[in-house]
Symmetry: C2
């Protein structure tokens, strides 16, 4: 009802994205992270007083350098993996199973964190504008996740269209804010942020080491600006053709936008003396907007709305990424098969629901506190960055080695990710720089954040890693076990015994009996369970007097549990002939109204459930459709003795 | 775990009761009602002041007369219906379906009320002794019902033994109280009840009519003393032989005990000036005991314990009666079949649970207020009394008429409930008096109580009446619909088409295919649902290259819902050959641990659920047992071309 009508698989092609839409769908995450990245830097540096705060622009510059490196690095991945080169795929092909599972675990955790952090931060944008809503942050956040879930169960194309407007509105309004502030600066009237006059900590004289540690921690926090950069490399197949080039171009566009916005906001924050508050309310970016536009102006509220919108939609990156990755992992037998199937609306429904549930749980657990949630975020991101970049280095290495081999040089030269040796060397160099940078940052982030909550993310990654390996081993075992050899493809069951459960001499039972006899089994028995002595007696009398052509077997049920005697009977049959397949025919009423079900014994269900676990037994449900007259009785009219030629 | 090991049906005979145990099992209800009957009389009369209270002994005498009449009347039933002559059975045989259903509805409501009122009253006995427990009355009452439920799920015999002690303790201690009070009276030291000095209402001069109305209402309330008298006539088959005589004797014993206790308590209440309190706390009987024995003496606490115990166990009468009656009604197709089956422990488990749930709901709904609950009680009781007695009058009439018919006189003379014409006439007279008395009381009770809550009981009875009739019509319709004619007993299905669902070329699928082929159906198709294009392609290739001897049909699933294309395919098959039975073979994994189930698609379940409602389709579940090696694959070793003679 909420998710729309089923979509035809052919419409898969129709959901391909043009660059301008793809930018909104895949880049809302990295672009929107400028809404909190600056704040995270200031929050850490504030502890060191004015001296430390003065380093903020330099810290931001380091983050920008890292961002440029990583963007450049991922552009290579877009070309090398036009079918989608997520960290998992790249690690799997180049670094082996363990690395790929580590990357996958990191990415899965990362996606959940993206939803949790982005949605929470979006709610902060709302509560910064309307403080009265602050106490309801958790409910609003969970409500938004629900909304995102429903939207995503509908499919990508419609999401894309919905998401373009807020992304461009946010970028446009932020640029407008820069221009406006520039004008104010030139006219000498640059305003102050509302927190500018708040007292700063006075930690006395900082040692160089203490300052360095603060700066490094601030840098680690600022790296939140990089989250989501990898989304495009994952989503190359969703781009319009030429996919790889379009994706790389979009990635570059995204990089430029992110650098400009992040740099500008940091400069403004310093210029306006905005301070980060521990509960994040009002946020630094909203303080800037309020100061520049005026705290009660329409533009300010528009800006906050756009911030909230892009942040909430940033979560959508994960709603694109998580289910897709889960589906690939399921296909590769690392996650349950159910995650591999697309739903009615062409999206991986199970993955969407799983992601939403995990993110909502996190938000509730952390009481929608952005500063505590964000601590869990970056470890996963940089784990996958690092593995992905190292994988790419190996990838180029392999290609270069192959090209040197004269035997394959001919066929490979125009191959995947090919090009001249020189361009390949260049790409490898870029990736190598990216790999080293991100590896260093990973160590820094881990060291500075593990005690601040990041251990939860690390633990989740380890659990996921082990679970995926266990699942894979299970599937492998099953696959080996169920592999059919050529002989088995031709075998027939050695002997089939039909067993028909009968309670009364009525049409449902007779129908089951007719089907069983029609099969011409090697043995047949009609079995009744003598729970009520009177009824059983009556049945036997009628059975004999009316000459039913099958012998009736009565099973004593002295404990009135009809199932155990049946199971024992079946086991005895099997013991006597171990290779016999026993087909148990169970007549069942099928009713048209649910309340009618209450008026029939549910014993058929119980029989079926128990017999399923009895080896060598096949259960045949023979439904009798009540209330549809002659239709309810199937397969009539052929007399046993004299087959009518008229029927088929 | 809590209800003990299953009991063998042969032990049915072993649960027969000797008189002294039967008295405890069946008569705790009528005997225990003396604990509240006097109080109900006083409660009504108190409104009329002293003048009205003075009539209490006369009201009690009227109740006693009625009690004696009803006991005498029911003794006749014991002899006439040695197989159990509840109001339902008697009405059904003599007054027809409508009357019997009215009686049944009244009895069912009555049983629920017995549990609710007795347990609540038992809790009052506890809180009268330990006032601190008053606020927890509801929880205690519900807990006691749970206890009774578990005890009754274990079976009658053990209940009987448990119940003898408190019944006899209550009777003995009450008699001791009478003796003690007599001694005190003789020594001139008869104490006063704790409420003796409480102010009485001073309604001024009562008109004769107002006094009459009060007296009649008091009588109606006092009739609670009669509740449960019918239990023995229902339970005749549970008595040791000679069943009828033992039952009649027990009934008489019960009558004597009830009359003595009820009379004595009323006399003492008047002598000690005990007043009934609107919330029933402390109860009149506890006030008497406290006055006579001393409110902090050990004997007082013993007495309260015995009162509580017999009241709680009185509820057990209903736990014997309700499930039994429900079972008979289910056998006669007036209630769902499930109520007809005895459980593992020889008791009608479903009825026990149903009764407990209804009573607990009432107690919670009425906040364990005994005076409000009791208003719902007596309408049902006297409805069944009246119908039962009128039925007995008719019964004797029929017997007498038959005896006059010379053709049957010879065979009937020593028949059921026979005896001399004179004794039959005597029995008829007794029953007639009983019938008239109870009918008058029914009118009185209805008139005085319907606005005080009895309408709920009346409404419940009407709903039950209509529901039972509707259920009966449904079953009758089904029975007619499913009756098999002689031709059908011999027919075979006209044409069987086997359809095997295949997802991969593995042993579970091959096993299903082997079974289907072994059946030699008129048509066979292996069907796969093309949800994933790659997988489908691989399957087709392998299928052809390995030469599976059945054609593979691919069903397009453009909306990725695999069920709809299958249903359509099946419907098309049926349309082409409307008389074809389609057997759908579904390979299923059966796993050994629940978590493994999560790793397999649950599509088999969904297929089965949907196909059950598709006419003309029979579902065959072919389980493949994982993790048991060669055992998992059944029916191997017989080659198609060359059957081995070695097998079987």
């Amino acid at each position: 009802m909420f998710v729309g009508r089923p979509l035809h698989s052919d419409r898969m092609e129709g959901t391909l994205l043009p660059k301008r839409v793809a930018l909104a769908v895949f880049c809302s995450d990295p672009i929107s992270s400028v809404a909190y990245a600056t704040e995270q830097i200031l929050l850490v540096l504030a502890a060191g007083g004015l001296a430390a705060l003065a380093t903020a622009p330099w810290v931001a510059l380091a983050v920008i350098l890292l961002l440029v490196t990583v963007v450049a690095s991922y552009r290579q991945t877009c070309y090398a993996y036009p079918n989608g080169g997520g960290a998992y795929v790249v690690s799997r092909e180049n670094l082996g199973e363990a690395a790929s599972l580590a990357a996958a675990a990191a990415l899965l955790v990362d996606y959940v964190m993206t939803v949790a952090v982005s949605v929470t931060s979006g709610v902060v944008a709302v509560t910064s504008a309307i403080p009265a809503l602050s106490p309801h942050a958790v409910i609003i956040a969970v409500g938004l996740i629900l909304l995102l879930t429903v939207a995503n169960l509908r499919g990508t194309r419609e999401s894309g269209r919905v998401f373009a407007v807020p992304t461009y509105a946010f970028v446009g309004l932020t640029l407008l804010m820069f221009v406006w502030a520039g004008v104010q600066a030139f006219t000498g009237g640059l305003p102050e942020a509302v927190t500018a006059a708040d007292p700063l900590p006075q930690p006395g004289q900082l040692t160089s080491l203490a300052l360095l540690i603060l700066v490094v921690r601030a840098f680690a926090s600022g790296c939140t600006a990089l989250t989501g950069v990898e989304a495009i490399s994952n989503g190359v197949p969703s781009f319009e053709r030429p996919k790889a080039r379009n994706a790389a171009t979009t990635l570059a566009m995204m990089g430029v936008i992110a650098v400009v916005l992040f740099g500008g906001i940091t400069v403004l924050a310093v210029a306006l003396h905005a301070q980060a508050l521990p509960d994040g309310n009002p946020s630094v970016i909203s303080q800037i907007a309020a100061a520049v536009f005026g705290g009660s102006s329409v533009v300010f509220y528009l800006f906050q709305a756009a911030t909230a919108a892009i942040l909430i939609l940033a979560a959508n990156t994960a709603f694109n990424g998580f289910p897709g990755l889960a589906s690939i992992l399921a296909r590769d037998s690392y996650l349950p098969r159910q995650l591999h199937n697309r739903g009615d609306r062409l999206v991986f429904s199970n993955g969407v629901v799983l992601l939403a549930a995990a993110a909502a749980a996190l938000i509730i657990g952390f009481d929608a506190n952005i500063d505590r949630l964000i601590q869990l975020y970056i470890v996963g991101v940089f784990t996958s960055f690092t593995l992905s970049q190292f994988g790419m280095v190996k990838h180029w290495q392999t290609l270069l080695r192959r090209q040197r081999d004269p035997a394959v040089a001919q066929t490979e030269v125009a191959g995947i990710g090919g090009g001249s040796r020189r361009s390949m060397r260049r790409a490898q160099t870029i990736n190598a720089i990216g790999a080293v940078f991100t590896a260093v940052v990973l160590v820094v982030v881990f060291a500075t954040k593990v005690t601040h909550g990041a251990w939860i993310a690390v633990a989740a990654m380890i659990v996921l890693f082990l679970t995926m390996r266990a699942i894979n081993r299970y599937y492998t075992r099953v696959t080996i076990e169920v592999a059919a050899d050529d002989e088995e493809l031709q075998t027939l069951p050695s002997r089939v015994h039909a067993l028909v459960l009968v309670s009364r001499l009525h049409r449902p039972a007779m129908q089951a009996l007719a089907l069983a006899r029609g099969m011409r089994p090697d043995g047949i028995s009609a079995v009744t369970l003598a729970v009520d002595a009177d009824e059983t007696h009556l049945l036997r009398q009628e059975w004999e007097s009316r000459g039913v052509p099958v012998q009736l077997t009565m099973l004593e049920a002295p404990y009135r549990d009809p199932i155990r005697p049946l199971i024992n009977y079946v086991k005895d049959l099997r013991r006597a002939n171990p290779r016999t397949v026993i087909m148990v025919f169970i007549p069942e009423y099928v009713v048209t109204h649910w309340w009618q079900q209450l008026l029939h014994n549910q014993s058929a269900l119980r029989f079926k459930a128990r017999l399923l676990f009895t080896p060598g037994v096949v259960v045949v449900s023979v439904p009798y459709h009540l209330g549809v007259g002659e239709e309810g009785w199937m397969g009539r009219r052929r007399r046993e003795v004299e087959p009518e030629t008229e029927t088929m």
